[in-house]
């Protein structure tokens, strides 16, 4: 018995929406919100670091003083709590559709909260003589990457205002300057005003340079990104046009066949009077071949459709067990006609997929299993919702089987073995090409095990994203 496994790379689509404005390019609210999620994680890390610093200050204050760090008060814990509350609020509101505020307002609130917290941290860590003010650079870089040029410049302006206010309050005598570094401990009124101004101005110039470079680079990347999205949109339009053309072609090719077969059905069903037996048999043979041709035309359209790039958003959670049950019900008459019995053990298995594609996928596999079974044979269908490692569907027939050297080609369009062509003349040879394309679209792995004149087993393995519902025999 020969066995071969097939797996095809899933083409990843990562639609990124960029909203164009007359004055520039900015990322959409949706993208902003998605990118802000990892920023929440970063902020949790900062809050954790502040709490650790606070704990060290409480329980190992002497040790810190020994290495020159003067950690007094509860400012690290206070800032950590504010960041934590802001994070929780943000996490709750950002996921809520149609929330109280649009994502943009939410994000700006978070930016301001962050800058206020950072300014307090800079004040306590040391606004001059320490590297604390350089923490503002992180905000400027993030704003440059995620926000529009104008918005990131606004963040830069806020940084300049907040840092300037901190220095003005400290060295204007309103609040006492502070530093965690004992060696750099400032003295109120001990700094020359021009010196402070010079230090603040040099830092502001640095902030401006960082903002300019990041904003320029981001702008280049966004323009490229926008071009990619436009190209994707063009592809989608071209695909729609291609589908329209395929539909028209299918209609034009199949309509005459339908007309011929409709007339044949009138003749063989006696609507035009009784026919000689031989004439009826001949008409049925004509109908059989016309039917095959009609199916080929429809299969070409199906293959063309499954090759289109679908929007991942149109995927739905589908119970594969229930879907198989429906398909088997549709194929019951066909199986009965071929005197093929079907045994089904179908557990519930939920899978995110393009429902129509998945239906075509299993229709083709099951139709093949019935078509290539010997008369009086049986087909077994198992859907294992709770398989130990991977969820899978197995379709096992006891039919004509496939030679080992032909197995690698069975998913090629129009490929048919000599035995299959002889056994089933009406097949289009496209069914398994559709199966391959759908497997590719969903990242499915297939295994085919076959022995000539003994039968074939098709195993379909679903990727790990499967959500397993409680098992129940269908």
């Amino acid at each position: 018995m020969a066995r071969i496994e097939f797996s095809w790379e899933k083409s990843e689509q990562a639609p990124v929406k960029v909203a164009r404005r007359a004055t520039g390019i900015r990322l959409s609210d949706e993208v902003l919100a998605r990118n802000a999620v990892w920023f929440i994680k970063l902020r949790w890390a900062v809050a954790a670091f502040l709490l650790l610093f606070q704990a060290l200050a409480i329980f190992w204050g002497r040790g810190l003083e020994h290495v020159g760090i003067a950690a007094g008060g509860f400012w690290p814990a206070s800032i950590a709590v504010i960041l934590g509350v802001a994070n929780i609020w943000y996490a709750l509101t950002i996921r809520k559709e149609g929330g109280l505020f649009p994502p943009a307002i939410n994000i700006w609130t978070q930016i301001i909260v962050d800058l206020v917290c950072l300014t307090f941290a800079v004040h306590f860590l040391g606004s001059l003589g320490t590297s604390a003010p350089f923490l503002y650079v992180l905000h400027i870089v993030l704003a440059g990457v995620f926000l529009s040029t104008e918005a990131s410049f606004l963040v830069l302006a806020l940084v300049v205002v907040f840092y300037g206010s901190c220095l003005a309050l400290e060295y204007g005598g309103i609040v006492l300057p502070h530093s965690v570094l004992r060696a750099a401990a400032p003295v109120a009124g001990g700094q020359d005003a021009w010196n402070i101004l010079l230090q603040a101005a040099s830092l502001d110039i640095l902030f401006l340079l960082v903002w300019f470079m990041v904003a320029q680079l981001s702008q280049i990347i966004r323009i490229r990104e926008n071009q990619l999205i436009e190209a994707e949109e063009q592809t989608r339009i071209a695909q729609k046009e291609k589908d329209r053309y395929a539909v028209q072609m299918t209609h034009q090719l199949k309509s005459p066949l339908d007309a011929i077969r409709s007339n044949i059905s009138l003749l063989v069903n006696g609507y035009c009077g009784a026919l000689p037996e031989e004439a009826a048999r001949t008409l049925k043979r004509i109908d059989f071949r016309a039917k095959g041709m009609g199916e080929l035309v429809i299969d070409v359209l199906k293959l063309s459709r499954v090759k289109l790039l679908e929007d991942p958003q149109s995927m739905a959670l589908v119970d594969i067990g229930a879907l198989l049950k429906e398909i088997l019900a549709e194929l019951a008459a066909f199986a009965e006609k071929r005197n093929v019995s079907i045994q089904a053990e179908l557990e519930s298995l939920e899978q995110r997929c393009f429902q129509e594609q998945m239906q075509m996928f299993f229709e083709n596999i099951l139709t093949n299993a019935i078509s290539y079974s010997y008369i009086g044979g049986s087909v077994r269908v198992c859907c294992k919702g709770r398989a130990p490692q991977e969820s899978c569907v197995e379709v096992i027939d006891q039919g004509i089987g496939i030679e080992a050297d032909k197995l690698p080609h069975i998913f090629d369009a129009y490929f048919r073995t000599k035995e299959a062509s002889e056994y089933n003349q009406s097949s289009s040879g496209i069914g398994l090409a559709i199966v391959k394309q759908v497997a590719q679209n969903h990242g499915l792995r297939l295994a085919v095990e076959s022995e000539p004149k003994k039968g074939t087993t098709f195993s379909v393995f679903f990727p790990a994203q499967v959500t397993v519902a409680p098992a129940s025999a269908v």
Partner: protein, 130 residues
């Protein structure tokens, strides 16, 4: 009302399909009105309300059947509709939110299948489930 006097309207620009549907349904005792354009069909619909409509999708234009389907569904929600199309279920993507309710037959339809579907849709309509 006797089921055999029900009026079925069929719209299709293919004469062979019209003849087939007419022959099969008349043989079952239905009154069949056939139209080869949506325009004639629409004019007739204002004068005579059928019990069931069998619609092709690509009549003259590629979407005329879809437009007619939408209009009839809104204007005459009580009339059951059956789509009889060359493309069969391949037209489903055009129906999006109606996928569950729509009745689609692929051409060429077997006479017994056509009769069974027409009969069941008329019965469902009569019982108020159509």
């Amino acid at each position: 009302m006797d089921a055999k006097k029900k009026i079925i309207v069929h719209v299709d620009d293919d004469a062979d399909i019209r003849t087939t549907v007419q022959t099969v349904l008349r043989n079952e005792g239905y009154e069949v009105r056939s139209f080869d354009t949506m325009e004639y069909f629409s004019k007739n619909l204002e004068n005579e309300r059928p019990d069931l409509i069998v619609l092709d999708i690509m009549v003259e234009k590629e979407d005329s059947g879809l437009i007619a389907y939408d209009e009839i569904s809104k204007k005459y929600p009580g009339i059951p509709l059956v789509i009889l199309t060359t493309l069969g279920e391949m037209i489903l993507p055009y129906f999006e939110d109606k996928k569950e309710r729509i009745c689609i037959l692929e051409k060429p339809v077997l006479p017994e299948r056509l009769v069974a579907v027409v009969r069941s849709r008329l019965e469902a309509s009569a019982s108020g489930n159509g």
